[in-house]
Amino acid sequence: MPLFRNIASMIALLPMIVISLTVFVGCIIYSFVYSLTNSKLVPVMNYVGFDQYERLFKQRKWDVAVENIFIYGFVFTIGCLVIGFLLAVLIDQKIRGESLFRTIFLYPYAVCIAAVWQGAGFVMVLMLAGLRGIDEDIWKSLSIEGVAKWKSYLFVILPMLRPMVVTAIVLIAAGVVKVYDLILALTSGGPGYATTTPAMYVMENFFSRANLGQAFAASIIMFISVVCILAPWAFYEFYLRNKYAAN
């Protein structure tokens, strides 16, 4: 009986379950299995162990790509956070024309012109939502105590917004790894391969260099890095928090 309770719900969720298993889990297994082969133009089951990974790490081009993504990711994440937070704080000051400014700061998010623009706008919205959610009483007590405005933002409000800051960092960082369109549009990875990224390296090996094994190996490395970024956050967010909530 308990197994077949909510049978309608099970049927309704069937597409989600099938997609999760075949696409999300299945594709990773597929990519991993074929990253252990020497597939070129078509996937063939010709086991070569971790050769592809060894070759990958010897590639100068891959080194450059990884270096780029680190520099890019670091600058991008910090830039977005700082600018986004500043903008949110300023807009929160009950300035005139708030909606106008908010409109301006967010439009690139809609059009996707360049990454820092987008990201800063995104952080601003997150932070603004957080700032607006802060209890009026906290502001009152801070002003009664005579704490300077910038001090209260830095030492009281920012720590209170920690979950949002963490969420923003994680989402931006996980998004940065995927960066492909933007670099392609701006520089096509050139001059030479100076601005290439791991995502471009993967796509190139898949579709123009017919080097499938290498592309699979690189994509698996990308996947592992995303997991490394997300795992601590997901652990905190979904496990620890539930545990505390239960107590």
Partner: protein
């Protein structure tokens, strides 16, 4: 002013407040700069673009780049402009949005109210999918679609957008439904409603706000997509972004920056339009996608 100020009114303009306005203005100019350059460049002719600074206003307006970008610019050997891409993008976006939002609403509803053993395990798997880099999934997914016989077709690209949109949309629908009062659901159950009936008569009528948010997220996301359209749509269904890239990245001939700029603006008109008519909802959409409830 019709807006009622909710904070203490600043007594006079202090140095700090002036500085603050200056900073915001500078930021606003910085944010508007690309749009400004794009618009004025599209209104210049090529001689003027070569001769003058990119920030100067055009001496005389020339509008020829707009119709050219729309219907004559060349992508490879075909010179039909962006027009076919525009219609392809619509053909891709409309069904993809409907299917993915519908499916995710059902998912969210089932997860919020009809939890069964193991449901949250699969929900977790699905959320996990939101963070897997596309590059890991592109090739195997291509193989799957090939086996199903829908690779490089319209249903193929629609399926791909549905798959990649599902995790975030399911999350925001689930969070929205979980925030509804549970008594409402219980009352409907007591009145004899089943899974399907409660969904259609109780839940859907209450879902307008979250549906708007979901539709905005999906329309902008799918319209701006480049990678998936390039790989999965096939030659006949290439979306506007792919054609834009083909126009801009010409390997031969002279690069016509004014046409490129017009084409870029034309491509971004749909998301811009969505953004401007739905500002408030748009902001809510970004926040909903990021903050969990």
């Amino acid at each position: 002013m019709s807006v009622i100020p909710s904070g203490p009114r600043p007594k006079h303009l202090t140095i700090g407040r002036i500085g603050m306005y200056c900073f915001i203005l500078v930021c606003a100019i910085f944010f508007l700069m690309p749009l400004y350059v794009m618009v004025i460049t599209s209104l210049k002719d090529m001689d003027e673009i070569r001769a003058a600074n990119i920030l100067n206003l055009p001496k005389e307006l020339s509008f020829y780049s707009w119709p050219k970008a729309w219907s004559q610019a060349c992508t490879g050997f075909v010179c039909e402009g962006l027009k076919p891409g525009f219609f392809n993008s619509i053909k891709i976006t409309v069904p993809s949005v409907i299917v993915s939002v519908g499916l995710s609403a059902i998912n969210g509803y089932a997860l919020a109210f009809w939890r069964f053993k193991g449901a949250y395990f699969f929900f977790g798997l699905c959320m996990f999918g939101a963070f897997i880099p596309y590059q890991v999934m592109v090739y195997p997914l291509l193989k799957i679609e090939d086996a199903l016989g829908i690779y490089s077709t319209l249903p193929g690209i629609i399926l791909v957008h549905t798959i990649f949109g599902m995790p975030i949309l399911t999350l925001i629908f689930r969070n929205f439904y979980a925030s509804l009062p549970i008594d409402l659901f219980k009352a409907a159950r007591i009145d004899g409603g089943n899974f399907v009936k409660i969904f259609f008569y109780v839940i859907i009528p209450m879902s307008t706000p979250i549906t708007i948010v979901a539709v905005i997220l999906q329309v902008t996301g799918i319209w701006n997509d480049f990678l998936l359209g390039l790989v999965f749509a096939g030659r006949d269904n290439q979306p506007m972004t792919v054609q834009l890239n083909n126009i801009v990245q010409v390997d031969y001939g002279v690069a016509e920056y004014n046409v490129d700029m017009s084409a870029t603006i034309l491509t971004s008109l749909v998301p811009l339009f969505v953004y401007f008519i739905s500002g408030r909802w748009f902001v809510r959409g970004i926040a909903a996608g990021a903050i969990k409830g």
